[in-house]
């Protein structure tokens, strides 16, 4: 995962330096400033893919081999265990995203002034959120035993995530609301875990 991110980041880096070499720096700056050209748009779905893969890798084996049943029969509260599992994954992908952000900030900072760097960071923020959102959703949904409810939750999370990919400039308050909504998703697991343990149909 780290390798894939690194490849994409290096690709973006090389593309930017090539574009500047071929089109002059001022042209590159102009299209970024006046045409809102996002030179880092190749990165757009990377956090989503990372969140998806980490989520599947963590939860699919548990669910398929019924290990979750075993875990949840331990004399520990199921909520605690499930939230801890999600938190572990959150830290892992959080570190990956932090790496991506730092790397991209450095690349951007080489060629462009701080205004463009902060614009880049606000632009990628909802993309980063999408990675957390998909991971939390997978974690909660895998635990859910009933397919009809699973489908409801899958559709809800897809709809939520697609809002994050709306083209345009989010305001601070919009980003705050979207952050809150994203961080509600891990707590779905309280319900799905309850359903799982009780086998509610």
């Amino acid at each position: 995962m780290l390798l894939v991110s690194l490849l994409v980041l290096v690709y973006i880096w090389m593309t930017v330096s090539k574009q500047i070499e071929f089109n002059e720096a001022k042209t590159m700056w102009s299209v970024i400033i006046f045409r809102k050209y996002k030179f880092f748009s190749d990165l757009q779905y990377i956090p989503l893919v990372i969140g998806f893969i980490v989520g599947i890798a963590q939860y699919a084996p548990e669910a398929l081999q019924s290990r979750l049943k075993l875990t949840l029969h331990l004399p520990v509260k199921e909520n605690k265990i499930l939230i801890q599992m999600l938190f572990a994954g959150f830290v892992l992908i959080g570190l990956l995203f932090l790496f991506i952000e730092i790397f991209l900030t450095i690349i951007t900072g080489i060629y462009f002034p701080s205004e463009i760097v902060s614009d880049m960071l606000t632009t990628i923020y909802p993309w980063i959120l999408s990675g957390f959102a998909v991971y939390f959703a997978i974690g909660s949904i895998f635990v859910e035993p009933v397919w009809s409810r699973r489908i409801t939750l899958i559709i809800t999370s897809i709809a939520l995530i697609s809002i994050l990919f709306t083209t345009g400039d989010f305001t601070f308050s919009a980003l705050l609301l979207l952050t809150i909504v994203t961080f509600i998703i891990p707590f779905w697991t309280i319900l799905t875990g309850y359903n799982f343990k009780r086998g509610i149909k």
Binding site: A25, M28, I33, Y111, T156, A159, G168, T171, W188, I190
Partner: protein, 412 residues
């Protein structure tokens, strides 16, 4: 309340959030109808407005009384805005109302400019190129550096090296300070494009709400305080260099007045308009040698204030083009959806939280939702079926909550 109930509420909240975002969209995908906005121009020949718009048999021109005109007639009656076609057909009159139709004047006055709410509310990266305004060349060229204005002054950054040009920054900062500029700036307005006849640089508002004109003349800074009128709180400036050199552009104030910024000592000349709201309406300037049409458009009507070259109001019209075709759909919407939530809004240049309440009409929908919730929950088995809390959710969030509680059953 048990923790599992809390978990369910969070799921319900998420579902309501998503539904309030998407269901209204789906509704309008099905029921929205196109409403075409008319073109309105003042005819100095007929001394009344001609209104062009879509009708049953294509595009048609009518006058205020509803009489039909052909395209050729319309062109003849609005000669200054259609002078090129008339010239091509060799039927351009020599003079109209005593005004000589000379080509230079016709060409110079033919200016159009539009500002919608999505333009004035957009967010842009605050870096700007300063061009040489008197290079002695016909074609404008972009230099390698871009400037920012902050509390330390104006800083030029070289795009080739991404480093500050300390010397140039100092010269310009000093020039601005000398002109009385108080850093930082509140607004920087220019027209950073080489596709214009010449360059007038920027209008910059300093932290004391003073408006300055900043440009580069033969490599040196030109900074001038414009003595802008004190009571006018400027929200937006659209600069538009044009060969007429009568006005630099327009300024829109927070109290919804629109001014020309004149070449004559930067005077603010207020346009004779009313009913304008910069957050809701589009302003269009369609000027020609004989008439300056100042047009304010909203969703249901177009107002046109025809003025002469001296900003004197000739005649005004408030033309309602909306025929009520969407009223039924809007009423039904308000009944079905108690509110809607969106991040996109055509009248906004940014993605923000747009929460719209459907008003008093939605009460019936809410009551119906609560009754439906009551009936449906009653039919469910006792253990995780009926409860008043779910009915309450439906009563407050209407169709969204109803769907959510049907999909996600209650827990103990």
């Amino acid at each position: 309340m048990t923790i599992s109930k809390l978990g369910r509420i969070l799921v319900l909240v998420s579902i309501v959030f998503v539904l309030a975002n998407y269901l209204p969209d789906f509704y309008w995908l099905k029921f929205d109808k196109p409403v075409s906005k008319p073109l309105i121009g003042y005819s100095p020949v007929l001394n009344q407005f001609l209104i062009g718009g879509k009708s049953a048999d294509g595009f048609a021109w009518k006058d205020e009384a509803g009489r039909n005109y052909s395209r050729n007639e319309w062109e003849l009656y609005l000669p200054a805005s259609n002078y090129r076609q008339l010239l091509y057909e060799n039927i351009l009159p020599d003079s109209i109302n005593g005004e000589k139709m000379d080509l230079d004047s016709l060409r110079l006055h033919r200016i159009s400019l539009r500002v919608g709410p999505e333009v004035s509310s957009s967010r842009w990266i605050q870096l700007f190129p300063l061009m040489e305004s008197q290079s002695g060349r016909v074609r404008l060229t972009m230099l390698d550096d871009f400037f920012r204005i902050d509390e330390n002054g104006i800083t030029f950054i070289d795009s080739k090296t991404n480093e500050n040009d300390a010397a140039k920054s100092k010269i310009y900062t000093d020039a601005m300070l000398k002109a009385g500029f108080n850093f930082p700036s509140k607004l920087i307005a220019g027209n950073p494009s080489t596709m214009k006849p010449f360059d007038e640089g920027y209008f910059v508002i300093d932290s004391d709400n003073k408006l300055f004109h900043l440009k580069m003349v033969k490599g040196k800074p030109f900074v001038k305080y414009t003595k802008n009128p004190e009571g006018v709180n400027i929200k937006f400036i659209m600069m538009m260099e044009n060969n007429l050199r009568n006005f630099y552009g327009i300024a829109i104030s927070t109290d919804n007045k629109i001014y020309y910024i004149l070449y004559d000592d930067y005077k603010f000349l207020e346009m004779p308009i009313d009913k304008y709201d910069h957050t809701m309406n589009r302003f269009v300037y369609m000027g020609d040698y004989l008439v300056r049409n100042l047009i304010i458009e909203n969703d249901t009507a177009t107002a046109n204030y025809a003025t002469d070259r001296n900003n004197k109001l000739i005649k005004a019209i408030d033309y309602k083009f909306y025929d009520g075709s969407k009223d039924a759909a809007i009423s039904a919407f308000n009944l079905i959806f108690p509110f809607s939530l969106s991040f996109e809004e055509p009248k906004s240049g940014v993605l923000d939280i747009f929460f719209n309440h459907s008003g008093i009409q939605s009460v019936w929908g809410l009551i119906l939702s609560a009754i439906l919730a009551f009936i449906i929950l009653r039919k469910r088995k006792a253990a995780n079926g009926f409860n008043y809390f779910d009915v309450l959710i439906a009563a407050f969030t209407g169709i969204y909550g109803l769907i959510a509680i049907i999909l996600i059953k209650n827990v103990e």
